[in-house]
């Protein structure tokens, strides 16, 4: 029997692993750390290939919005910067988040609290399926189906709201604009944000929901006082996850946003771009020096999305831990 003032010191028990197990554990650990190796290698190689760009342009590579290779024979005449592309990444991703989050909240609440039981399982499966639709298909759909619609809406927005700077344009010709790309990204990230929100809302404490019902609360009252406050941080995490996806999206943005090297805050104007679509766009005919700049741009994109995803993971995990 163990007592607090026992004179006998507790024995430490060591698990003994046979040689087979030690080899096995070492092998598994080594394989598990593959992801660490890959992440480090990505950073290292992109830095290695793009290092010349960072030393040539320094911080200007991130702030400068010009992309001019100058004389292909003489790299010193080139002026390369991804400022406009970074702004474009942020603008399109933010449009996506602002549009997607309210709809994702409503969809998550609908699936979790309003849909009949049989529909709930079906809708969860559908959510997984639409999350797996390849981005190239979203892109072609956005280009062919969404583009004319958004052109139409842009005209209306411009007509009535052009006194708001972001809805103003120099010439009222609308096309592959940040608004189109942002809306398409909203549709693309909606499943993942909804999935995260649904999972978090589903874990809202049953006893508190019961308490709200027992006090004569309606379903909405219970959602408002219990579910939404409880799911707040999980929703933020889900939105960040979506933000990361939206910033890293390549093909869909490539197809729906006109690549122009100009910092453009007018979301109806047919000009913009993001870092990922820049890489896909310039890769084909890039000079050796330009290729290095694309590597550097890739590194910047990698670090930004890693940061966003890091924050998202921390927030989502913390909201899971509370449960």
């Amino acid at each position: 029997m163990q007592t607090t003032d026992s004179p006998v010191a507790p024995r430490e028990v060591h698990t003994y692993y046979t040689r087979v197990d030690r080899v096995f554990r070492g092998f598994v650990a080594a394989s598990a750390l593959f992801s660490l190796v890959v992440l480090m290698l990505i950073a290292a190689f992109l830095l290695y290939r793009g290092f010349e760009i960072f030393s040539d342009f320094g911080f200007g590579f991130i702030t400068n919005s010009k992309w001019d290779i100058g004389n292909p024979e003489d790299t010193s005449t080139a002026v390369l910067g991804i400022g406009a592309m970074l702004v474009g990444s942020v603008i399109t991703a933010f449009i996506a988040i602002i549009v997607a989050v309210p709809f994702a909240m409503a969809s998550a609440l609908f699936i979790e609290f309003y849909a009949p039981r049989f529909l709930r399982t079906v809708l969860t499966a559908v959510l997984d399926l639409v999350a797996a639709i390849p981005s190239v298909i979203y892109g072609i759909w956005g280009y062919v189906v969404l583009l004319p619609l958004v052109e139409d809406w842009s005209g209306t927005l411009y007509k009535y709201l052009n006194w708001i700077p972001i809805f103003d344009v120099q010439t009222p010709i609308f096309g592959r604009s940040p608004l189109l790309a942002g809306l398409l990204l909203a549709i693309m990230i909606l499943p993942i944000v909804t999935s995260v929100a649904r999972e978090v809302y589903g874990q809202a404490p049953r006893d508190l929901i019961d308490a709200s019902y027992a006090l004569g609360g309606t379903k909405w009252a219970g959602i408002r006082t219990v579910v939404l406050p409880f799911g707040k941080s999980g929703l933020v995490g889900g939105a960040m996850l979506g933000l990361g996806r939206a910033m890293g999206e390549t093909v869909a943005v490539y197809l729906t946003l006109n690549l122009v090297f100009k910092t453009n805050f007018q979301i109806l104007a047919s000009a913009g771009g993001n870092v990922a679509s820049l890489i896909a766009n310039k890769f084909g005919e890039a000079t050796a020096y330009e290729l290095k700049a694309l590597m550097a741009a890739g590194l910047v994109l990698f670090l930004v999305t890693l940061l966003v995803n890091f924050l998202a993971t921390v927030i989502v995990n913390r909201s899971r831990k509370i449960v």
Binding site: L36, Y114, I133, V136, G248, T250, I279
Partner: protein, 350 residues
């Protein structure tokens, strides 16, 4: 003094709280009125088409729900408005989904002809008439690259899950965290990385390089799903195996993994579904080739790049080909999901 006896006659169970016919009538009237109201709005303003009508409905439904219930107090009225808004918003979300599936099917099926799935584009330019050429080369290329990627990513993903769940090693938390971080790597960055290493060192685009870029994107999905699957293995099973004197290695390979074998297949299938439509990394690694090819060291076609490159031409026939490729690709994703779903429901029934 009272003693209660249970009567032998049991009445039929009822659910008085279920939606009654009057609720159904109320909802039907509500939707009907909102529909009319929306048509009126559409007539008065410049709104048109299905989306314009839906927008009017989305506005009218909460308003009418409010008007119809406000006499019972704000408590009930707010509940009705919330129900209306949430339902309308969810229904709005499904519009693009339906549109995507319908458009891909309608436009994609126009590209189909008898030999669409067996011919390649070796002697057919993308702008040529639809009855020539096909997607066989792209299907073969996608299959080859996905197969190689799976052969690498599935074992690695499962081992990462084994490390977290079975070994519970010192770095378990780190590994889980890194896997999550890796799932956020933009696909174009994965492509750039493979380009900067494999393509540059080995002197050209190849199926190999394409497969390796897919590994980076596939691994996190496989690892995460496998982890969830391994967690459902009851601890009794491991304890029982240890009690019989088995090593941890034997316990893992002979007891734990076989128990959830079908779940691990699901993990693999979901991983494949995640990467089968990846476009951006393949532009930078595998590039494209118009003919059927099985060589691992040369550029190779794939379904996503077939779509992407056809679309870039702006020609009507080429665009139709892009839709055709989309239909094939969506079909593949669909089938993969159906497989994963069937396996996992069979697993949960066990």
């Amino acid at each position: 003094m009272t003693t209660y006896e249970t009567s032998t006659v049991v009445p039929a169970p009822r659910r008085p709280w279920d939606h009654t016919r009057s609720t159904a009538v109320r909802v039907a009237v509500l939707v009907f009125l909102s529909g009319i109201f929306s048509s009126v709005i559409n007539g008065l303003t410049g709104l048109s088409g299905f989306l314009g009508w839906y927008l009017g409905l989305a506005f009218a439904l909460p308003v009418i729900a409010f008007v119809g219930s406000v006499r019972h107090g704000w408590n009930l009225a707010s509940d009705r408005i919330a129900t209306a808004l949430i339902t309308v918003a969810f229904a709005a979300v499904t519009i693009p989904w339906v549109s995507i599936f319908v458009t891909v099917y309608q436009k994609g099926s126009k590209a189909f002809h008898a030999k669409y799935l067996t011919d390649d584009m070796r002697i057919t330019p993308s702008s040529d008439l639809i009855q020539y050429g096909g997607v066989a080369h792209a299907i073969i290329g996608t299959l080859i690259m996905v197969l190689i990627a799976s052969l690498i990513a599935v074992p690695l993903g499962i081992l990462a899950a084994v490390y977290i769940v079975e070994i519970k090693g010192r770095f378990a938390k780190l590994v889980r965290f890194l896997t999550q971080a890796m799932s956020g790597v933009p696909s174009i960055v994965a492509g750039l990385f493979i380009y900067a290493t494999v393509v540059v060192f080995f002197g050209g685009f190849s199926a190999w390089a394409g497969a390796l870029s897919l590994v980076i994107l596939m691994l996190p999905t496989v690892a995460r799903t496998s982890e969830e699957i391994l967690k459902i293995v009851p601890d009794d099973l491991r304890t029982a195996s240890y009690a019989l004197g088995a090593t941890q290695a034997r316990t893992t390979f002979r007891v734990v993994l076989p128990t959830v074998a079908s779940g691990l297949v699901t993990a693999a299938v979901l991983g494949i579904a995640r990467v089968v439509g990846e476009t951006a990394p393949l532009i930078l690694t595998a590039s494209y080739f118009v003919a059927k090819s099985t060589s691992l060291t040369e550029p190779i076609a794939s379904l996503p790049i077939y779509i992407f490159s056809s679309l870039g031409l702006g020609d009507d026939n080429a665009t139709t080909r892009a839709w055709g490729g989309s239909l094939v690709l969506l079909g593949v994703v669909f089938i993969l999901f159906a497989i994963a779903r069937t396996i996992s429901t069979r697993l949960s029934r066990k």
